[in-house]
């Protein structure tokens, strides 16, 4: 038992140290979002956000600094946690929330909060959100290794010189380079599902935090390359934004994207060309706002 505890403490603390010294990559971008960014405009969201918003274009046209805090697979809980951490030390002028995902009762969104475990110790403001992962999270976090589960290789690579030198992102934005080859088709989207109130409340809290900090907030559903009849998630988004008097822009049926597969890498993500077109459109919206 003693050997296990000692090993856990030594290895855990070593992993913690090297996690926060990574120079590039996914972990670095999350740490930068939570602890360092002081950009005037910040976009939050999952992979759609991460690959659809080009900072250079925004900075050039708006004259404001821009950071893309999007992260693959992130949920509304993640966005709320990052926003809260940012607001503790900095007030951006604009926040864009690119919403993807659903408000359903799946456990996935909670389990993906494991990406925030390394920050649990230092950031009290995110603890309640992280503890939603499971009722035993506080007990599990007694282990020093646990927050860095499955991160060993990424931490090692993240600290290597070649990784610090290669920048796979541009102010958080990761460009996708391929072109989608398949013609557009229809997709069966769930018309109704049982709502997880925690997720709706997290969205509401995101909006409230932005408003309380006097930040201009825009909620967006960025372009997709498939057709659907009616999407319950979009209806709920629309409803919540109307209730909170927040602008919501839905690009899911914008013709310029639906008619051009070359702007996409896959059905849900714009490639670098599509991202540039979309960023230009978003700039006009932000200027109007």
């Amino acid at each position: 038992m003693v050997i296990i505890i000692l090993s856990d403490i030594i290895l855990g603390n070593t992993l913690r140290y090297f996690y926060f010294t990574e120079g590039a990559g996914l972990h670095y971008r999350t740490t930068y979002s939570i602890e360092q960014t002081t950009a005037d405009v910040i976009v939050f969201g999952s992979s759609k956000a991460n690959h659809n918003y080009v900072p250079d274009i925004f900075e050039k046209e708006l004259g404001l600094s821009f950071y893309n805090a999007g992260r693959d697979g992130a949920s509304i809980f993640y966005h709320l946690a990052v926003l809260k951490s940012i607001l503790k030390r900095h007030k951006p002028n604009f926040v864009i929330l690119d919403f993807a995902g659903k408000f359903d009762k799946s456990r996935e969104s909670y389990e993906r909060l494991s990406s925030l475990l390394p920050y649990y110790e230092k950031h009290k403001e995110i603890r309640k959100i992280v503890e939603q992962k499971s009722p035993y999270e506080r007990i599990k976090l007694v282990s020093r290794i646990y927050p860095f589960n499955s991160m060993l290789v990424t931490i090692i690579v993240g600290n290597m010189k070649f990784n610090r030198n290669r920048k796979d992102d541009q102010k958080g934005y990761v460009a996708l380079k391929k072109e989608w080859q398949v013609d557009i088709d229809s997709v069966n989207v769930q018309s109704f599902y049982e709502i997880d109130k925690n997720k709706i409340n997290a969205l509401r809290e995101f909006i409230d935090c932005s408003k309380q900090a006097d930040i201009q907030l825009v909620v967006v559903f960025s372009p997709i390359y498939y057709l659907y009849n009616r999407d319950y998630t979009l209806d709920l988004l629309h409803e919540t934004c109307s209730e909170k008097n927040v602008s919501f822009y839905d690009f899911s049926k914008t013709e310029i994207f639906l008619s051009n597969k070359k702007l996409f890498q896959d059905r849900s993500h714009l490639n670098q060309n599509g991202a540039r077109v979309f960023s230009d459109m978003m700039i006009k919206i932000l200027k109007d706002e």
């Binding site: 050997i3 090993s7 993906r112 909060l113 990406s115 589960n149």
Partner: protein, 478 residues
């Protein structure tokens, strides 16, 4: 409450505490209570089914033993089997049966629609039904006397470490243990703890890690090339082995901690030199159950057909094995494939033995290696059918493997490395246990420090690279 959940760890600790606080003669009461609480926590309403099965098997076994008249014995026996099987047939197969009937009728242009039954399958029903059937048959055949204590019998059926995924235990192994004072056995408990640790390693580090990769490939078959699909197909048997094997070890280990000995379920199946040997090493509790209660009786019925009688028995046995695994055509085909492989071996065994002896092949390493590889390939080919959603997808997989080339899909490189690392450790341990039984002791070293470091390393590895939740995923962008 699955074994790999934190709540199960808390549950087993509480059960252990209560178990050893109570006098040895009454510990079975603690286990019975814990087993029903465990099952209740999964889905309360299904406790009724569990009670129903237990009571039917219990009372009718007593009736079988009590009555002297053969006709009446038979009636009780058939009634017991029917009533015990009924819930399994209803929940597991009725939905698929109605769909199959609609499909078959549509082939002859008869359009008939049955109401779609959205039935939730009671968890563990396949396992505890087989346990109850085995008990009933043993009593009917006079192999054992029926258990008189309803509580101990109910515990035998519902014992929580085994109820979800086995091993499928026998009355003659468990009931005598329950009818003796359950005492703490240091050697058994120590073995149990080691099984639990290794079980968690197999499940969390190997099985769930491989599952990330296999699921990423198999859920996007049209987007992957043949090389990636082939690689995922080769990994899948290891995933199932580590998953079910790991789960079994946790179950066996938990029972050992509680003072009960349970049969082993896996014995390094990938070192089998034939399909028949493979099935003596893979899911041993299920195969021995099928052998005793299906294969041998059918062999006896068809004994006049000699070898062809064995073939018929094999095909029926593995047909049942297939549908037991799942109520889908793919599982039936999977089962029948096993039957075909085993039938071929049964029909050619004499000729093969002559060849092997003539050229002294059994002692040749290259021959043994060839047998391992060939047996593994046969199993892998059949597992593809079990893995996919339907037969069409199975043919698609075979087609792609044979015709489509391209770079191997890696996914998230870190996860790929952890997967190979975990699998390598599992294989090294199996190689050591198979070929170097009395050498290279780490986990069973006589040096306490070495043993401790070995187990501590496994626990640290579980913490570092185990898959604990859906927080890890392979993001596949095309």
């Amino acid at each position: 409450m699955i074994f790999t959940s934190f709540s199960f760890l808390i549950f087993i600790c509480l059960v252990l505490t209560c178990h050893y606080l109570v006098p040895a003669n009454y510990r079975w009461v603690v286990l019975l209570t814990a087993s029903y609480i465990f099952y209740f926590s999964i889905k309360p309403v299904f406790v009724i089914l569990l009670l129903f099965t237990s009571c039917i098997a219990y009372f009718l076994a007593l009736a079988i033993d009590f009555t002297q008249r053969e006709n009446r014995k038979k009636v009780y026996f058939i009634t017991s089997l029917t009533l015990v099987l009924l819930p399994l047939l209803f929940f597991k197969y009725l939905g698929n049966l109605s769909e199959a009937m609609m499909y078959l009728l549509s082939l002859v242009n008869i359009s008939l629609s049955f109401p779609r039954l959205g039935l939730l399958l009671p968890i563990g029903i396949s396992f505890y039904t087989f346990v109850a059937i085995g008990y009933t048959v043993d009593v009917y055949n006079g192999d054992i006397k029926p258990e008189k204590n309803l509580g101990k019998f109910a515990l035998f059926i519902s014992f929580f470490p085994l109820i979800l995924s086995g091993p499928i235990e026998r009355a003659k192994n468990i009931l005598p243990q329950l009818n003796s004072p359950i005492v703490f056995n240091y050697a058994l408990a120590s073995q149990g703890l080691k099984f639990i640790i290794w079980g968690y390693f197999s499940k969390l580090v190997v099985a769930d890690r491989i599952a990330l990769y296999v699921n990423a490939v198999f859920s996007n078959l049209s987007m992957h090339n043949g090389n990636s699909i082939a690689f995922a197909s080769f990994l899948y048997p290891f995933q199932v082995y580590a998953d079910l094997g790991g789960y079994s070890l946790i179950a066996i280990g938990s029972a050992n901690l509680l003072g009960l000995g349970i049969i082993q379920n896996f014995k390094r199946p990938f070192f089998a030199t034939s399909v028949s040997e493979f099935w003596r090493r893979w899911h041993m509790s299920l195969i021995s159950w099928l052998t005793d209660y299906v294969f041998i009786p059918i062999c006896f019925i068809f004994r006049k057909y000699k070898k062809w009688g064995i073939v018929i028995a094999l095909m029926i046995t593995f047909f049942i094995s297939g549908i037991w695994h799942g109520a889908k055509l793919t599982f039936i085909v999977w089962g029948l494939m096993q039957g075909v492989f085993l039938s071929y071996e049964a029909l050619t065994i004499n000729k093969r033995d002559v060849l092997i002896e003539k050229y002294m092949l059994a002692s040749k390493t290259w021959f043994r290696l060839l047998c391992y590889v060939f047996t593994f390939l046969l199993f892998t080919v059949s597992q593809i059918v079990a893995r996919v959603a339907n037969l069409q997808d199975a043919f698609f997989v075979y087609y792609k493997i044979l015709t489509s080339r391209g770079p191997l899909f890696i996914g998230t490189i870190a996860y790929f490395i952890y997967m190979l690392f975990g699998l390598a450790i599992l294989l090294c341990k199996d190689i050591k246990d198979e070929f170097f039984v009395s050498k290279y002791y780490l986990l069973l070293s006589r040096y306490r420090l070495l043993r401790t470091i070995a187990y501590a390393s496994i626990i640290i590895l579980i913490l570092m690279i185990g898959v604990f939740d859906a927080g890890q995923f392979i993001y596949f962008q095309f």
